[in-house]
């Protein structure tokens, strides 16, 4: 494993058949995480079927403790909490995955171009990336909501737009390091076309890392969605877990002592974020077993991962 010129940690992915399979199954954490995610995905897909009641039907005027009919009780508006939770899974997972995809596409493309082309283009792209790493995310989100309206699509795009930068840096570092490798240089010296080098060598080395990073991004995005709902910028016509947490605060669940409204959505988010995190971490560990520390750094601080500051060989 080598350090890229700017010091991001990079990995060496042996190009073997079955890398994809190994990525998914090679690590117990990954398997556990992906299974948990799969369960939630299933719940989300089956939401209309398994929700005990229609989501927009009120059953009472306010909070109501759990009963057999309403296993998680009713919230401040008289809506069934379990139904909202299950439908919320749809929204949260949808937002999470698409936002992560948007981030991956933007970040991956920019990182790729910067790393591959190098030179001036790299410089300019990295300056732009730096800005996005540094800007406080809140104003971007609030302005976007105010200007473009608060719809689900906009939210997904906004999250991707705000969080793509760390992916870009990571991919760029990886691309650059791959191009530096001796055997790639040899292949190029032998006259292979850039396209050949690209598809046979660069892409296979970069893709697994991109995948791992995207899974981690899903965790980020779901987290960010709760944040957006918290600011009141979410789509008002859909239920999401972030919305449920915010409703708990707004509807005075604390004052009313309605724990059945407060606990479920937060637990759900925690579990999904956990699952995605350990899955992504597991994948990164598969790619480089020596990378033990520093995964958590990817999320909270949208700043450059330091020169292997958190790597301890």
């Amino acid at each position: 494993m080598v350090a890229s010129p700017s010091g991001e940690r990079v990995v060496s992915v042996p190009t073997r058949r079955g890398t994809a399979l190994r990525l998914i199954t090679g690590n117990r954490q990954t398997v556990l995480g992906l299974c948990a995610l799969g369960v939630f995905l299933l719940i989300a897909l089956l939401a209309p079927v398994i929700a005990p009641t229609p989501v927009n039907t009120g059953f009472a005027n306010g909070f109501s403790a759990p009963t057999a009919v309403h296993p998680l009780g009713l919230d401040g508006g008289g809506f069934d909490v379990l139904s909202r939770l299950v439908h919320g899974a749809q929204t949260s997972l949808l937002v999470g995955s698409i936002a992560a995809l948007v981030g991956m596409v933007i970040g991956g493309t920019i990182g790729f171009v910067a790393g591959y082309v190098g030179g001036r283009t790299d410089g300019v792209l990295m300056r732009i990336t730096d800005y996005f790493l540094v800007i406080p995310d809140i104003p971007l989100m609030i302005v976007a909501a105010a200007v473009f309206g608060q719809s689900l699509t906009n939210i997904m795009i906004v999250i991707g737009l705000v969080y793509w930068a760390s992916t870009a840096r990571l991919i760029r570092a990886q691309v650059m390091s791959v191009r530096q490798r001796t055997f790639v240089k040899r292949v190029e010296a032998m006259g292979a076309s850039p396209l050949f080098v690209l598809t046979r060598h660069v892409v296979p080395q970069v893709t697994p890392l991109l995948v791992a990073n995207t899974v981690l991004m899903v965790a980020n995005a779901i987290f960010a969605e709760t944040y957006i709902s918290f600011l009141g910028l979410g789509d008002p016509s859909v239920v999401s877990w972030g919305r449920m947490i915010q409703d708990a605060l707004d509807q005075g669940a604390v004052v009313a002592g309605a724990w059945w409204v407060v606990l479920p959505p937060g637990l759900a988010v925690t579990l999904v974020v956990l699952a995605a995190t350990i899955a992504g971490q597991g994948m990164e560990d598969t790619l480089n077993p020596r990378l033990k520390v520093g995964h958590l750094a990817v999320r909270r601080f949208r700043v450059r991962p330091l020169h292997g500051a958190l790597d301890r060989p």
Binding site: V143, V147, T270, A297, R300
Partner: protein, 327 residues
């Protein structure tokens, strides 16, 4: 240019670009500070007069030039909502937020150290897994949810104030004593700080555990044990030292998340800090204050990055100039 200087230069450029973009960003939003005064007797003339006073009716590029000019003189402008200088509007909330953030970081550090030590000392056992999973779980929880839980279960149980920064009756009939003020302020910042600390201790736990495991595996530890040094001393003198560097780095990086943590926690606990001030200024379209706050935050993040970078480069000789084989 040495690497250090070039980083400083890039940092300055980033700040400038950020400040510029922030200027234009808020003005894209519908409505301005004066446009929708639903006040009892507002007239179109009043609105025009106010727009003129605040220079909001000038074309945008002209406003921008005026802004840059003021900035160069160190003047952040005047708040539209209150008429006071922007720096005055900002320092108050900032001084409210900082102790809470520091306390929160301290709590996170303490929890992280305990968690890391426990899980590495009893590596491979159930205690190890439990501790690790717990710290990861807290890290995965939305901060406002942690705040709600703290409000729910801790506030009433312990009898700590759940909101605000100062008790309503303090200082009403006379200047409160320094001690009373201190006690009251501290009581009010405990719950928000606890929320922040719980939500972020996970990263310190991981660093601590890793540092501990590395240290415990070193040869000289065996020697130390053989010499009769007790576990506790090994911990203090060796493991902590190895964890110091990444911990300090992480704390520096935490500065970058002032906004996220502050806004969330301050809303849940009604804490009048910088996050709250930012959200408030957005609602009022108070552009000068908004620009000031976000300039401040951008600078804070950039400086934190820079400091972490430079400190790290200096302390660890192995990665000077960034050219090193890691692993």
């Amino acid at each position: 240019m040495t690497p250090a200087l070039s980083r400083i230069w890039f940092a300055l450029v980033t700040v400038f670009v950020a400040a510029t973009i922030n200027f234009f960003l808020f003005r894209v939003m519908p409505g301005n500070a004066v446009s929708a005064l639903r006040c009892r007797a507002c007239t179109p003339q009043l609105r025009e007069a106010l727009l003129n006073r605040y220079g909001l009716d000038a074309p945008l590029p002209e406003q921008f030039v005026r802004y840059l000019d003021q900035l160069a003189r160190g003047d952040l402008g005047i708040s539209i909502a209150s008429g006071r200088p922007v720096w005055q509007e900002i320092t108050g909330p900032l001084l409210n937020t900082l102790p809470m953030l520091i306390a929160g970081t301290l709590i996170a550090l303490v929890l992280g150290v305990i968690s890391g030590v426990v899980s590495s000392w009893r590596r491979g056992t159930v205690l190890d897994s439990t501790t690790q999973w717990t710290s990861l779980a807290f890290y995965a929880m939305p901060t406002q949810w942690i705040g709600l839980l703290v409000l729910f279960y801790v506030a009433a149980a312990i009898g700590l104030p759940a909101a605000g920064i100062q008790s309503a009756s303090l200082g009403v009939l006379g200047e409160p004593s320094m001690w009373d003020l201190l006690v009251d302020r501290t009581a009010h910042l405990i719950l928000p700080a606890l929320t922040l600390g719980l939500g972020s201790y996970g990263q310190y736990a991981i660093i601590m555990r890793s540092a501990m495991l590395d240290t415990l595996g070193e040869d000289y530890i065996l020697t130390a044990r053989a010499k009769g040094l007790r576990d506790w001393e090994i911990l203090r003198y060796h493991a902590f030292g190895n964890a110091l560097l990444p911990m300090v780095t992480m704390v520096a990086l935490s500065a970058g998340s002032i906004v996220a943590g502050a806004i969330v926690v301050e809303d849940v606990f009604s804490y009048p800090g910088i996050g709250f001030a930012a959200v408030d200024a957005i609602g009022k379209r108070d552009y000068p204050v908004l620009q000031g706050i976000f300039l401040l935050l951008t600078v804070a993040v950039v400086v934190a990055n820079l400091v972490a970078d430079l400190v790290y480069v200096r302390i660890d000789p192995r990665i000077r100039s960034g050219r090193v084989a890691v692993g």
